[in-house]
Symmetry: C2
Protein backbone atom coordinates (compact mmCIF):
# COMPACT_ATOMS: atom_id res chain seq x y z
CA UNK A 1 0.00 0.00 0.00
CA UNK A 2 1.08 3.56 -0.75
CA UNK A 3 1.85 5.19 2.54
CA UNK A 4 4.12 8.04 3.54
CA UNK A 5 7.36 7.36 5.39
CA UNK A 6 8.53 10.82 6.34
CA UNK A 7 6.22 13.80 6.76
CA UNK A 8 7.44 17.38 7.11
CA UNK A 9 5.14 19.83 8.85
CA UNK A 10 5.67 23.46 7.85
CA UNK A 11 4.72 25.08 11.12
CA UNK A 12 3.66 28.44 12.28
CA UNK A 13 2.75 28.98 15.89
CA UNK A 14 -0.67 30.55 15.38
CA UNK A 15 -3.90 28.98 16.53
CA UNK A 16 -4.50 27.85 12.95
CA UNK A 17 -1.01 26.41 12.87
CA UNK A 18 -1.87 24.23 15.85
CA UNK A 19 -4.81 22.72 14.02
CA UNK A 20 -2.60 21.92 11.05
CA UNK A 21 -0.06 20.40 13.44
CA UNK A 22 -2.71 18.17 15.04
CA UNK A 23 -3.74 16.93 11.62
CA UNK A 24 -0.10 16.27 10.71
CA UNK A 25 0.39 14.27 13.90
CA UNK A 26 -2.75 12.22 13.20
CA UNK A 27 -1.66 11.49 9.64
CA UNK A 28 1.84 10.52 10.74
CA UNK A 29 0.30 8.06 13.18
CA UNK A 30 -2.07 6.63 10.58
CA UNK A 31 0.77 6.19 8.09
CA UNK A 32 3.24 5.09 10.76
CA UNK A 33 5.52 7.78 9.37
CA UNK A 34 8.26 9.85 10.96
CA UNK A 35 7.15 13.44 11.57
CA UNK A 36 9.58 16.34 11.21
CA UNK A 37 8.86 20.02 11.71
CA UNK A 38 10.21 23.15 10.09
CA UNK A 39 9.69 26.77 11.01
CA UNK A 40 10.94 29.65 8.91
CA UNK A 41 12.13 32.91 10.42
CA UNK A 42 11.91 35.87 8.07
CA UNK A 43 15.05 37.84 7.64
CA UNK A 44 14.67 40.80 9.91
CA UNK A 45 14.58 44.00 7.89
CA UNK A 46 13.56 47.41 9.09
CA UNK A 47 11.53 49.70 6.86
CA UNK A 48 13.05 53.19 6.92
CA UNK A 49 10.64 55.89 5.73
CA UNK A 50 13.34 57.46 3.53
CA UNK A 51 15.49 54.56 2.42
CA UNK A 52 12.96 51.72 2.35
CA UNK A 53 13.94 48.29 3.67
CA UNK A 54 17.33 48.24 5.35
CA UNK A 55 19.25 45.49 7.08
CA UNK A 56 19.72 46.55 10.70
CA UNK A 57 23.29 47.12 11.93
CA UNK A 58 22.17 45.64 15.21
CA UNK A 59 22.49 41.99 14.22
CA UNK A 60 21.82 41.06 17.83
CA UNK A 61 18.18 41.61 16.98
CA UNK A 62 18.34 38.78 14.45
CA UNK A 63 20.02 36.54 16.97
CA UNK A 64 17.39 37.32 19.57
CA UNK A 65 14.66 36.55 17.07
CA UNK A 66 16.27 33.25 16.18
CA UNK A 67 16.70 32.28 19.82
CA UNK A 68 13.08 33.11 20.61
CA UNK A 69 11.89 31.13 17.59
CA UNK A 70 14.10 28.20 18.55
CA UNK A 71 12.51 28.17 21.97
CA UNK A 72 8.98 28.24 20.55
CA UNK A 73 9.81 25.54 18.03
CA UNK A 74 11.18 23.36 20.81
CA UNK A 75 8.13 23.63 23.03
CA UNK A 76 5.74 23.32 20.07
CA UNK A 77 7.57 20.18 18.95
CA UNK A 78 7.39 18.67 22.41
CA UNK A 79 3.60 18.75 22.29
CA UNK A 80 3.88 16.70 19.10
CA UNK A 81 6.58 14.35 20.45
CA UNK A 82 8.99 15.40 17.70
CA UNK A 83 12.61 14.82 18.78
CA UNK A 84 15.21 17.56 18.46
CA UNK A 85 16.98 16.05 15.45
CA UNK A 86 13.78 16.39 13.46
CA UNK A 87 13.21 20.04 14.32
CA UNK A 88 14.39 22.47 11.64
CA UNK A 89 14.67 26.22 12.03
CA UNK A 90 15.67 28.12 8.91
CA UNK A 91 15.87 31.75 7.88
CA UNK A 92 14.89 33.19 4.55
CA UNK A 93 12.33 32.47 1.87
CA UNK A 94 9.75 30.07 3.30
CA UNK A 95 8.97 28.24 0.07
CA UNK A 96 12.60 27.63 -0.87
CA UNK A 97 13.73 26.61 2.62
CA UNK A 98 10.86 24.18 3.07
CA UNK A 99 11.41 22.55 -0.32
CA UNK A 100 15.18 22.29 0.25
CA UNK A 101 14.80 20.78 3.73
CA UNK A 102 12.30 18.26 2.37
CA UNK A 103 14.76 17.15 -0.31
CA UNK A 104 17.72 16.92 2.03
CA UNK A 105 15.76 14.69 4.40
CA UNK A 106 13.97 12.40 1.94
CA UNK A 107 10.60 13.74 2.94
CA UNK A 108 7.75 12.28 0.89
CA UNK A 109 4.93 14.52 2.13
CA UNK A 110 4.98 18.19 3.09
CA UNK A 111 2.00 19.42 5.12
CA UNK A 112 1.26 23.12 5.07
CA UNK A 113 -1.64 25.32 6.17
CA UNK A 114 -3.48 27.00 3.35
CA UNK A 115 -5.61 30.13 3.36
CA UNK A 116 -7.83 31.58 0.68
CA UNK A 117 -6.94 34.22 -1.82
CA UNK A 118 -8.48 37.13 -0.01
CA UNK A 119 -7.07 39.82 2.19
CA UNK A 120 -4.53 39.07 4.84
CA UNK A 121 -4.25 35.41 4.01
CA UNK A 122 -3.19 35.77 0.38
CA UNK A 123 0.43 35.70 1.47
CA UNK A 124 0.08 32.34 3.18
CA UNK A 125 -1.90 30.96 0.26
CA UNK A 126 0.90 31.91 -2.06
CA UNK A 127 3.45 30.12 0.14
CA UNK A 128 1.41 26.93 -0.13
CA UNK A 129 1.14 27.32 -3.92
CA UNK A 130 4.86 28.02 -4.17
CA UNK A 131 5.68 24.88 -2.22
CA UNK A 132 3.31 22.89 -4.41
CA UNK A 133 4.97 24.16 -7.56
CA UNK A 134 8.52 23.53 -6.44
CA UNK A 135 8.44 20.47 -4.18
CA UNK A 136 9.71 17.17 -5.51
CA UNK A 137 7.33 15.29 -3.21
CA UNK A 138 3.60 15.31 -2.44
CA UNK A 139 2.11 18.34 -0.72
CA UNK A 140 -0.95 18.36 1.52
CA UNK A 141 -2.50 21.79 1.92
CA UNK A 142 -4.66 21.85 5.03
CA UNK A 143 -7.44 24.33 4.55
CA UNK A 144 -7.95 26.69 7.43
CA UNK A 145 -11.58 27.41 8.10
CA UNK A 146 -13.29 30.68 8.87
CA UNK A 147 -11.04 32.49 6.45
CA UNK B 1 -8.26 10.85 15.06
CA UNK B 2 -8.37 13.21 12.08
CA UNK B 3 -9.23 11.15 9.06
CA UNK B 4 -10.90 11.94 5.79
CA UNK B 5 -14.45 10.79 5.09
CA UNK B 6 -14.92 11.63 1.43
CA UNK B 7 -12.05 11.93 -1.04
CA UNK B 8 -12.46 13.36 -4.55
CA UNK B 9 -9.92 12.27 -7.16
CA UNK B 10 -9.44 14.76 -9.99
CA UNK B 11 -8.63 12.28 -12.73
CA UNK B 12 -6.99 12.37 -16.06
CA UNK B 13 -6.52 9.18 -18.02
CA UNK B 14 -2.78 9.47 -18.67
CA UNK B 15 -0.22 7.04 -17.31
CA UNK B 16 0.62 9.63 -14.65
CA UNK B 17 -3.05 9.93 -13.86
CA UNK B 18 -3.19 6.22 -13.13
CA UNK B 19 -0.42 6.53 -10.54
CA UNK B 20 -2.32 9.36 -8.84
CA UNK B 21 -5.46 7.22 -8.92
CA UNK B 22 -3.67 4.30 -7.28
CA UNK B 23 -2.46 6.58 -4.52
CA UNK B 24 -5.98 7.96 -4.06
CA UNK B 25 -7.38 4.44 -3.78
CA UNK B 26 -4.74 3.50 -1.19
CA UNK B 27 -5.43 6.60 0.86
CA UNK B 28 -9.18 6.06 0.72
CA UNK B 29 -8.63 2.54 2.03
CA UNK B 30 -6.31 3.71 4.79
CA UNK B 31 -8.77 6.39 5.88
CA UNK B 32 -11.79 4.16 5.30
CA UNK B 33 -13.15 7.03 3.22
CA UNK B 34 -15.54 7.09 0.28
CA UNK B 35 -13.74 7.75 -2.99
CA UNK B 36 -15.34 9.80 -5.76
CA UNK B 37 -13.86 10.68 -9.12
CA UNK B 38 -14.21 13.71 -11.37
CA UNK B 39 -12.99 14.23 -14.91
CA UNK B 40 -13.22 17.55 -16.71
CA UNK B 41 -13.82 17.81 -20.44
CA UNK B 42 -12.58 21.01 -22.01
CA UNK B 43 -15.11 22.92 -24.02
CA UNK B 44 -14.37 22.01 -27.59
CA UNK B 45 -13.25 25.06 -29.53
CA UNK B 46 -11.67 25.14 -32.95
CA UNK B 47 -8.85 27.57 -33.74
CA UNK B 48 -9.54 29.28 -37.05
CA UNK B 49 -6.43 30.87 -38.60
CA UNK B 50 -8.34 34.07 -39.41
CA UNK B 51 -10.90 34.40 -36.64
CA UNK B 52 -9.10 32.72 -33.74
CA UNK B 53 -11.03 30.39 -31.40
CA UNK B 54 -14.55 29.69 -32.57
CA UNK B 55 -17.31 27.51 -31.18
CA UNK B 56 -18.05 24.84 -33.80
CA UNK B 57 -21.53 24.79 -35.36
CA UNK B 58 -21.29 21.04 -35.32
CA UNK B 59 -22.27 20.51 -31.69
CA UNK B 60 -22.36 16.78 -32.36
CA UNK B 61 -18.59 16.93 -31.92
CA UNK B 62 -19.02 18.07 -28.34
CA UNK B 63 -21.53 15.32 -27.71
CA UNK B 64 -19.20 12.72 -29.16
CA UNK B 65 -16.39 13.98 -26.98
CA UNK B 66 -18.58 13.82 -23.89
CA UNK B 67 -19.75 10.31 -24.72
CA UNK B 68 -16.18 9.09 -25.26
CA UNK B 69 -15.05 10.70 -21.99
CA UNK B 70 -18.01 9.18 -20.17
CA UNK B 71 -16.98 5.76 -21.43
CA UNK B 72 -13.37 6.23 -20.35
CA UNK B 73 -14.43 7.55 -16.96
CA UNK B 74 -16.66 4.53 -16.47
CA UNK B 75 -13.98 1.95 -17.26
CA UNK B 76 -11.32 3.90 -15.32
CA UNK B 77 -13.65 4.05 -12.31
CA UNK B 78 -14.34 0.33 -12.49
CA UNK B 79 -10.63 -0.41 -11.95
CA UNK B 80 -10.93 1.64 -8.75
CA UNK B 81 -14.27 0.13 -7.68
CA UNK B 82 -15.94 3.54 -7.73
CA UNK B 83 -19.71 3.18 -8.22
CA UNK B 84 -21.53 5.18 -10.88
CA UNK B 85 -23.15 7.63 -8.47
CA UNK B 86 -19.71 8.82 -7.41
CA UNK B 87 -18.43 9.40 -10.95
CA UNK B 88 -18.62 13.02 -12.08
CA UNK B 89 -18.06 14.25 -15.60
CA UNK B 90 -18.11 18.02 -16.05
CA UNK B 91 -17.32 20.45 -18.84
CA UNK B 92 -15.55 23.74 -18.48
CA UNK B 93 -12.87 25.24 -16.29
CA UNK B 94 -11.15 22.40 -14.41
CA UNK B 95 -10.35 24.35 -11.25
CA UNK B 96 -13.85 25.77 -10.82
CA UNK B 97 -15.68 22.54 -11.65
CA UNK B 98 -13.57 20.47 -9.27
CA UNK B 99 -13.96 22.94 -6.41
CA UNK B 100 -17.74 23.21 -6.98
CA UNK B 101 -18.23 19.43 -7.13
CA UNK B 102 -16.21 19.05 -3.94
CA UNK B 103 -18.43 21.53 -2.13
CA UNK B 104 -21.68 20.05 -3.41
CA UNK B 105 -20.67 16.60 -2.20
CA UNK B 106 -19.14 17.43 1.19
CA UNK B 107 -15.72 16.30 0.06
CA UNK B 108 -13.01 16.85 2.68
CA UNK B 109 -9.96 16.02 0.57
CA UNK B 110 -9.30 16.66 -3.13
CA UNK B 111 -6.45 14.66 -4.67
CA UNK B 112 -4.87 16.03 -7.82
CA UNK B 113 -1.73 15.27 -9.81
CA UNK B 114 0.86 18.01 -9.79
CA UNK B 115 3.63 18.73 -12.27
CA UNK B 116 6.51 21.17 -12.04
CA UNK B 117 6.60 24.65 -13.40
CA UNK B 118 8.43 23.88 -16.59
CA UNK B 119 7.35 23.35 -20.15
CA UNK B 120 4.34 21.30 -21.00
CA UNK B 121 3.37 20.62 -17.42
CA UNK B 122 3.02 24.24 -16.29
CA UNK B 123 -0.65 24.07 -17.23
CA UNK B 124 -1.35 21.13 -14.95
CA UNK B 125 0.70 22.70 -12.17
CA UNK B 126 -1.43 25.80 -12.39
CA UNK B 127 -4.62 23.73 -12.14
CA UNK B 128 -3.36 22.21 -8.89
CA UNK B 129 -2.46 25.66 -7.53
CA UNK B 130 -5.82 27.02 -8.59
CA UNK B 131 -7.64 24.23 -6.78
CA UNK B 132 -5.52 24.81 -3.71
CA UNK B 133 -6.34 28.50 -3.68
CA UNK B 134 -10.07 28.06 -4.14
CA UNK B 135 -11.02 24.82 -2.42
CA UNK B 136 -12.83 24.95 0.90
CA UNK B 137 -11.31 21.60 1.89
CA UNK B 138 -7.84 20.06 2.08
CA UNK B 139 -5.94 19.42 -1.14
CA UNK B 140 -3.32 16.73 -1.70
CA UNK B 141 -1.09 17.41 -4.70
CA UNK B 142 0.54 14.17 -5.80
CA UNK B 143 3.86 14.95 -7.38
CA UNK B 144 4.48 13.23 -10.66
CA UNK B 145 8.05 12.08 -11.03
CA UNK B 146 10.35 12.32 -14.03
CA UNK B 147 8.89 15.68 -14.89
Amino acid sequence: MDTYQHILLAADFSEHGRLVAQKAASLAKLHQARLSIIHIVDNLTIIDSTYGPVIPFETDLNEQLIQASQQRLKSFSETLSIPEERQFLEMGNAKLEIVATAEENQVDLIIVGSHGRHGFSALLGSTASGILNHAQCDVLAVRLKGD
